[in-house]
Symmetry: C2
Subunit: 761 residues, 2 copies
């Protein structure tokens, strides 16, 4: 939601972000764009590593990152290639200053010139003509500074960026982020290099406003128990509102007016309480239409002159976390502990099996994430049959366009605060920043119907983080959400008791257990992180690893920098030993990649489908992870940077179809002559009953085919799975190294599934 019909001056030229400024006042904008002010540009002052005494100046992209500006100015090679990312390490402890100069614009009497930024990373000061206007810690709290009374004819605006926050100099790892609200991922993770961004990372501009203007508009609602009424509160904050009229209009998705009214103003605040009957509800895309209404709020002065228009969209949904089916009857016996925490999501009274993934920063430098990137990646999420994304707490809270796309495309958002895998200790200084940042985050995101739940952060109550329910930071976040967005669920962290994180391998190299049996013994209310590594395709590997290191992959080379070795435990994430243990030694790179990607595909399929078979006790399956911030050599992601699906993406897409025939499998490798077995299921996440039918099951190896028994099944109840027979057959002595199980529902080719196995003696 942005101010419209107020003139905007975009600082810094960044085409793709201009589109973010959903500007309806095109004529005015056109006028503005013709003005001199647009010629303004940012530079960044820095002191180069080898030349600390002499400040240098680089042209700055805004939004962007100082690291990228300097890299460009200094002629660095791409950071994603080889070991080039190390070139940036010296910047961590440096200060940088953004500088821009501008003429005082022509303004009518009473008009105000306001500097606005949606995000500056991380600790900074803003100085106008030598006078400090603001000190702020925190990248998620937008800046709004009225410069009017401080303007000269020629003005210099400086933004001083402090060194990145570090709780301590050693160890050099994510724990350095544990005293700040800086996302921890860039301090180094098992799929992210140590490369910590700084600078202006979201839209930033000068704005000429009328004497009376709106600062912030908030539209909140509650729904009646029967969902047949929406009680709406429109709230506007601004300046000089008492002397103005504020007209609110709500229109349906066809543009038909649904409601209108005038806000009553008190001081600098205006409020309207209104209600509408029988609102169209917002649904995740696989359960209905993600219906959106649009609204405008027009500010006019006493003469009736239009001063400003705010506009936005809204969707009506009720979201709850309710107890998973069967979970109330646990634990059994005495002494009795509490029941597990609820993680069954209910939208508009309908229990939804959540299928999706963990979203991570799609760029190392959030400043260069484009609207287009968000859109492409979210289109892919719909293509993957995902209805939920968990915005993992190690990364940023996304820019606005992300949530707007989720609203439109019907993708539910599990939003974490930027806390991950650390013990955020709860000093008063930290809590003060966390309070400010969380308030900014909640106020911005709560309006989105796609927002399904808040979470304090990632894996905070596990040993490697060391936080507990007693942590003041978590209690503060719970309290903040309760105050600012009480009807959206909040969980302290993930996993909670009953939910599962992991495993992250096809086969545990210590125990030898394969994913099939891990999942069969797992009894979890939700699988909110599970990984399955796969190597990146050769065309990616060639862009990140020097030719001389490409084959064979070895630790200590760029393979390792790109997470193929020693990223987590064992030889993650390439896991060459495991791959070659299944398939034998690879002769060349593309063979190895193919084998690894097959394991990733089959492994993910096994988990998603088994999680679905465990419905309704289980309510969620989100793999680790969806995308990646730079090109990795091997990773659990199903999409390579920037937006290249791995084969596993398609396997996951198929496993997440609303309806499919599925096999519960027991292992990857079978012996010739051994009795093969699998159990048949129909998985149905739709709220409709499926007709009876027949499943045909076939084993195939090349042209060799072995028919198994068919399964004639009856009705498949709405939002229910149907458990079928265990099929058994003696495996032929086929000479091939593997075979596939092909399942087909007669008359429904769209339900078809296929699984690959290895064959040995």
């Amino acid at each position: 939601m942005k101010a419209l019909f107020s003139r905007m001056i975009n600082l810094g030229f960044h085409k793709m972000h201009r589109s973010l400024l959903i500007i309806l006042g095109c004529i005015l904008l056109g006028n503005l764009m013709a003005q001199d002010h647009l010629e303004l540009k940012w530079s960044v002052e820095y002191r180069a590593d080898g030349d600390p005494d002499k400040p240098r100046l680089a042209e700055a992209s805004v939004p962007g990152a100082v690291q990228l500006d300097i890299a460009k100015a200094e002629g660095y090679a791409p950071y994603y290639f080889g070991e080039n990312w190390r070139d940036y390490l010296w910047m961590e402890d440096q200060e940088f200053v953004y500088v821009t100069n501008f003429h005082k614009p022509d303004m009518k009497p009473g008009e105000r010139l306001v500097f606005r930024s949606l995000g500056i990373d991380y600790e900074f000061e803003i100085i106008l003509n030598g006078r400090k206007l603001l000190y702020q810690e925190g990248m998620f709290t937008p800046v709004r500074l009225d410069l009017t009374d401080l303007l000269n004819v020629n003005n210099e605006l400086r933004i001083r960026i402090f060194p990145i926050p570090k709780k301590h100099p050693e160890p050099v790892d994510r724990s350095q982020a544990s005293a700040s609200v800086k996302p921890a991922v860039s301090y180094g993770w098992d799929w992210h290099p140590r490369l910590v961004p700084s600078g202006i990372w979201d839209d930033t501009w000068l704005e000429i406003l009328p004497g009376s203007y709106l600062n912030e508009v908030s539209v909140q609602y509650t729904l009646s128990e029967e969902l047949d009424k929406a009680f709406i509160m429109v709230e506007a904050m601004g300046k000089g509102l008492t002397a103005c009229s504020m007209a609110w209009n709500l229109a349906d998705s066809s543009g038909n007016k649904v409601d209108m009214g005038y806000l009553k103003s008190y001081m600098d605040r205006g409020v309207l309480y209104t209600e509408i009957a029988n609102p169209e509800l917002w649904w995740p895309h696989d359960h209905g239409e993600p219906y959106l209404y649009s609204y405008t709020l027009k500010l006019t002065d006493q003469s009736g002159k239009l001063l400003q228009t705010y506009s936005g969209h809204m969707g009506f949904r009720r979201v709850k976390l309710v107890m998973n089916e069967g979970a109330w009857s646990e634990p059994e016996g005495f002494p009795k502990s509490r029941s597990v925490a609820p993680i069954q999501l209910e939208i508009n009274g309908q229990k939804i099996f959540c299928k999706g993934s963990n979203w991570v920063n799609p760029e190392i430098f959030p400043g260069i994430i484009t609207v287009k990137r968000y859109e492409e990646l979210l289109d892919r999420a719909v293509e993957a049959n995902f209805n939920m994304l968990r915005i993992w707490g190690g990364g940023i809270v996304n820019k606005e366009s992300f949530y707007e796309f989720c609203d439109q495309k019907g993708i539910m958002v599990w939003q974490e605060f930027p806390l991950a895998c650390n013990n955020y200790e709860g000093t008063p200084e930290y809590l003060e920043v966390l309070k400010q940042e969380s308030e900014s985050i909640i106020r911005r995101i709560r309006k989105h119907p796609s927002l399904a739940m808040w979470s304090g952060g990632n894996e905070l109550f596990n040993s490697w983080s060391g936080m507990t329910d007693q942590a003041l930071a978590i209690r503060l976040l719970n309290s903040q959400c309760l105050e600012l967005d009480p009807y959206t669920p909040f969980i302290s962290t993930s996993p909670l008791m009953g939910m599962g994180h992991g495993h992250y391998v096809f086969r545990d190299q210590e125990t030898g257990e394969e994913v099939y049996s891990t999942m069969l013994r797992a009894h979890n209310t939700a699988y909110t992180e599970f990984g399955m590594p796969g190597p990146s395709p050769v065309e990616i590997l060639e862009t990140i690893i020097p030719d001389s290191e490409l084959w064979p992959p070895l630790p200590g080379t760029s393979w390792e920098s790109h997470h193929a070795y020693n990223a987590w435990v064992g030889d993650t994430w390439l896991m060459m030993d495991m791959i070659e243990g299944y398939f034998g030694r690879a002769a060349k790179l593309d063979e190895l990649v193919e084998m690894g990607q097959l394991l990733q595909s089959e492994g993910y399929k096994a988990i998603y489908e088994e999680a679905r078979r465990q419905k309704p006790y289980c309510s969620m399956a989100l793999n680790w992870c969806y995308n990646e911030p730079w090109p990795t050599a091997a990773n659990n992601s199903i999409i390579n940077w920037p937006n290249l699906p791995k084969p596993a993406f398609y396997a996951v897409r198929d496993a997440c179809r609303p309806v499919l025939v599925s096999a519960r499998n027991y292992k990857l490798t079978w012996m010739r002559g051994e009795e093969f077995s699998c159990q048949l299921w129909i998985l149905n996440d739709q709220y409709r009953t499926l007709d009876p039918g027949m499943v045909k099951a076939t084993l195939m190896a090349g042209k060799k085919v072995l028919e198994l028994d068919s399964w004639v099944f009856g009705n498949v109840e709405s939002n229910s799975n149907l458990e079928g027979p265990v099929l058994k057959v003696e495996l032929p002595h086929w000479q091939s190294d593997g075979f596939t199980l092909h399942l087909e529902v007669l008359g429904h080719p769209e339900y078809t599934s296929e699984y690959t196995f290895l064959l040995s003696d």
Copy 2:
């Protein structure tokens, strides 16, 4: 903490509560007591059950309960005898009005007459001379009304008490309390009859105040990491403070001045920040001295005249809930859930094994709980070697003197909010009252060093309650505690994951499992409720059960009304079948009682000692329950109403000694000739190392004695248990029905333990 040197007029004559008003201004009080106003008395207006049209008037005891006043006026027999409690049921849906008349007292110019009540139960209005001054829902929020400008010469003050809150007319049970902050217990529990109190339940008086006066004084502090500095904030609220001087004085326990200073006043608030070095720390009695400082705050006017003195005590302690030892390494394997919640209490950096009990209302009518009762029961808790009491959420939050005694006696308090075993649903109306009541509770109790933790309430996250972490009521309480008392731990409810509630029987009648083996397989971080029923002594039974019903005990008689039958499940709490299953048919009542009490004693001993053996993973053992609100026929309590210890009390006392020799036993009944076995332990909760020694173990049956092997043990480390050998011996063919195991540490008769077993063929 009370206003002193302000004149008080106590309304209603209630000797024991007068002592609560820690009045230092004795001369003034003496003067006041001579005044006419003291002659004022309360009456209560009611409409009798059979005579609804004609209001009647009963003399009222304040504090007290309207039910008791009416019972007295109507000549009811004691409510604890037989079925007499049923006589009170008609009062539930009635209104009552307290009435008092008083003359306007002589007051100097500028003085104010203020009505104060510390608690009125539950929904009420206050009317002075026909004018409504206050409507309030909630018994824990004190009332303070300045009557000065509304006074006539003759005044009538009326307090209208609404019918008790009921969410619904049916079912008639505790769920009726689920929309209010009325303690649920009186709606009926397995050890509490349906008998719901109403009325003025805490001290209530008129007070003449000077023109400038203090309303509330709050002293809060934090301690430095090293505990060598206390940073103190003294805050006073009142009227006309700007024109006054406020002098603060802190003295140690010998009365020596430790600190002093003057509050700075702004508007009606005064603040002083100060600090002291090397404060003496408050400790639970078994780990040090419960050291208390005392302070005064003197309000003087510009001429130096003393207007008011507030005084109170304070203790310095740091309290934390930290992870139980070993709990971070759970759960193992993938998929991995969160680690359990911490329940290891740490006082001043020292981990403390908490031994204690669950405290319930010591009277059905909280208005008649006396200071003396609190003191006696808390002296007994110290005698029992208890260092913690859990103030169970089904009952009231206690009166001030309770917490003052706990401060003095060094008993840690786990304080629950008044929510228990219901689904408190979170309507805006309920949440508003809960917010008000919780704020009052926290502001009152946070000052006590004995306060060790807050809890949202009892068993809320179990199936029979149906609340979850998503409940707005729990989130609100967490938020309130965070805001008002951030450094005292808060847990959402009990049990949390990892903690255990139950079992409540010596032998599970369904599975046949005895308490010994239940505890051996239990793996809990804390045992925060475990019961063991025992019949009451004959002298109590004779006062509650008509002679004709006394023998044999039968369901459907007063035995049942007093919880011997159908109280919970099976034939709880008498469990005659089980008792007679072990001991054979009892010939008369005292035999039955003796048998049942033996099981209770041995059962409790087994649990406390096994919980202690599970230290340090286990950190707490609190039995269900300590006391009882009326005389029961059978109950899990170890003290009969009003203050009569059962044999189990002494068994528990011994099991909770800081040091003892203990046997891990495996069953109650052994066969002649069978191999008896038990394992020896030394349990040490003291922070000192015990010297090496020798344990002598003997089996005894009457005069027959069988020596077992001795155990020569080495040092017993500080705050650690020492695991000894398993002793085995073939049982002789003694003719007795039972035998005892006697353990003695040579030279330490205070460590001696004894266990009773049955012997059969």
